[in-house]
């Protein structure tokens, strides 16, 4: 029984196996849709190559988008946040210790005050 394996959260429910079955059905539908394509499609030859406005294809090293170029817009928008946050990560072990002692002091003071 599939429903025996459902996870109750108290206000909702999650059936992994039902989800998996739905996923399988979707995959089958996708395969069927793919099957409607024309079987006479040509493979090989120049027309499968990427068309870069008539320019030569770059070599593989330069096609690959490097990690630093991903999420450029996000990082640019959050520049101020990241500047402050990385400023905290000094790498200085004395600062690390100071944070530990700081949190400890706050906890003791708050604990004794209440």
């Amino acid at each position: 029984m599939v429903f025996a394996f459902s996870l109750q959260s108290g206000s909702g429910v999650w059936h992994p196996l039902v989800w998996l079955a739905a996923f399988a059905v979707a995959a089958i539908i996708a395969r069927v849709v793919l099957g409607f394509g024309r079987g006479s499609r040509k493979t090989g030859g120049d027309h499968v190559k990427p068309f870069l406005s008539g320019n030569e294809e770059l070599d593989e090293e330069r096609i690959h988008v490097r990690a630093s170029n991903l999420y450029w817009g996000y990082l640019e928008a959050m520049k101020g946040y990241y500047r402050r946050l990385t400023a905290l990560h000094t790498g200085n072990v004395a600062d690390y210790l100071l944070w530990l002692f700081g949190v400890l002091a706050i906890m003791i003071v708050v604990g004794l005050a209440t």
Binding site: T86, T90, A94
Partner: protein
């Protein structure tokens, strides 16, 4: 009053140790600050086990009277052993860092940050 003296010493040593760990720039001094803190904790352990006019907790041949608490002494000894291992490890690491970085200034041992 006189019995409180060890606890005053504990506080003093701990504060000196903490200060050295946070404020000193030399890695060796930071590690020695840790050593002082450890000494403070050990002294605290022994001091709380002390009973006025207590004798050594050896039951063979023991006269009547109060004994000082033996458990804390065992704890202190264990803590000292662990402290020796910790300090040896830390100092060895400091030697290795000095060998590669040519410095012991904690503000310049920051190849890992951000």
């Amino acid at each position: 009053m006189l019995l409180d003296l060890p606890f005053v010493a504990v506080g003093l040593i701990a504060v000196i140790g903490l200060g050295a760990m946070i404020a000193k720039k030399n890695l060796i001094k930071v590690i020695l600050g840790l050593g002082l803190l450890e000494g403070a904790v050990n002294l605290f352990l022994v001091a709380v086990g002390y009973r006025q006019d207590g004798i050594a907790p050896i039951f063979t041949n023991a006269p009547e009277g109060v004994m000082v608490m033996p458990t804390v002494q065992a704890l202190t000894l264990t803590a000292i052993v662990i402290g020796v291992a910790t300090l040896a490890l830390l100092l060895t690491m400091a030697m290795a860092i000095h060998r590669h970085y040519k410095t012991l200034n904690v503000e310049r041992i920051v190849k890992l940050k951000g």
